[in-house]
Amino acid sequence: MRLRLRSSLLGVALLAGALAPIATAEVACAASSAALVVSTSSNNYTFCVELGGSSVNGIQLIQRAGSQHGLQYKLGFGGNAVCMLANVGASGNDCFGEHPHFWGYWRDNGSGGWNWSGTGASNVTVRAGDTSGWSWGTGDSGSSHPPPPPTTYESVCGATPAPDPRPKPDKPREGHSDGAKPKLSGEGGGETVTPTPRDGDPKVADNAEREGPKGKKKDGDAKGKRKDNAEGYEVVAPSASPSASPAAISNPVGATARDPDPPVAAFAALGLTAVLAALGAVLVRRRRRLEGT
């Protein structure tokens, strides 16, 4: 009987092991990207998010912006609602904790303007070339909620959706930023493959991405393009030359990332688990011996 139990446990473990790679397998397709605009009341951030050939929903777009560009976010209500973006919003599990302020979801109307999304972001399909916007404000409908600044896909992602020069990172890495430092992209998080515009492009030159981590300066420019290229590798997109100043990029939204080092307490918890499990095993063995005699 015990043997059978073991074999079934083994089977379960094998099944789990077999499922995990399937689940994580991502098809590396030709690149495509969608633009994401996050508009807090004081700042405006734009992200060119690689979709990796697949279409995603509005929530996954945020998740990808998080893994590719270090956008800080917090989801709630089963991952279907947006509580916090760029450190603005409800910090708890109640996404409407700051009501009447909340994150409104907007979709592009094809010409730089915005349409209020009547559907929840998790039920919206975002395709390559789309622009999605989130704006923080009051108002329960498109007529009263403040839309993000007018933004076109081209202003965020360059002229056309460019092919991906590098394989897409298959998992989000930790350590997108450290503490309150502006993000200097040498370590960890710089796997983004945003096609970068030419040097001296006025759209880039006058945006506010060289500000400090707090993002105090008002960024009225909707074209605040973000580049997180790692030092040492430059993204070469067909329509763009490498960016000349990768180190000068701040990550105003990544200021609260945690220390990437494993906390001691986590290891303490694992050790505790091991000790308890061993004690349980000893107790069971002793009991068996007692019952056997």
Binding site: L5, S8, L9, V12, A13, L15, A16, L19, A20, I22, A23, T24, A25, E26, S54, S55, V56, N57, Q60, Q63, R64, G66, S67, Y73, K74, G92, N93, T125, D170, K171, P172, R173, E174, G175, H176, A257, R258, D259, P260, D261, P262, P263, A265, A266, A268, A269, L270, L272, T273, A274, L276, A277, L279, G280, A281, L283, V284, R287, L290, E291
Partner: protein, 265 residues
Amino acid sequence: MHQGAWLLWALSGGLVAITTTNPFYLLPLLAVAWVVHAACARPGPQARSFRIFLIFGALTICTRTALVLFLPDIQFGNVVEATLEGLRLAVLLTVFGAYNTVSDPFGVLRLSPRRWHEPALAASLALSIAPRTIEAVTTVREAQRMRGIEVRRFRSLTALAVPVLETGMEEAVVLAESMDARGHGRGRRTRYRPERWGWQATIVSVACVLAVGVAGSALFADDASLAMSAFPIVWPEVSPVMLLAIVALSAPAWLPLGSPTRKSR
């Protein structure tokens, strides 16, 4: 130990489990359930229900993880999140499995005030259905083996199901008759050998209340360590207070609860 204390223990363990998806809380809780089962399980076939629940827990994790495949776009974070949610359910099941092995379902029934006797009876029957079924399966299998009937896993399922169901029916009838004979449902009821609330029960209850209090206050304070963020995957914070609260739930394992092996039913 008093059945009420066990009930409180199971409730507390379950409550603490459902507040968190942090694996560094869930794994110690799993170990706590295992230790309590190891130290306090009552002898007999029902002690095996812990294993059964453990297997069900593993299946739960697999199922919850496999559900990720239905997402339109799978990221590693989705898988991690799903697995952790599965782990939470599995820990809940394991705590319940441990409760099944340490408690006496009809002892719980005796605790209920007379007015709530019927719902308590239903609840205790529902609580005890897993250990009773396991017990019945074991008995039937043994009987079949002794009679030279080959016990295969799947083919003999029908041959197993009928006697098991019949045993369940019989048990229900016997229970109803015995309750009738003892004057249940007639408004008078005496307590034969009422259980005593010992100092062990007090200590366990205090530990349980502390654990739930810590977990509950962390929940209402929006403690970030309760949920593990999977986008991006970072080491979750682990609060030592919460760890201590979880360890406190293992109190029944360290207290002298009398020798359960000598107690016969």
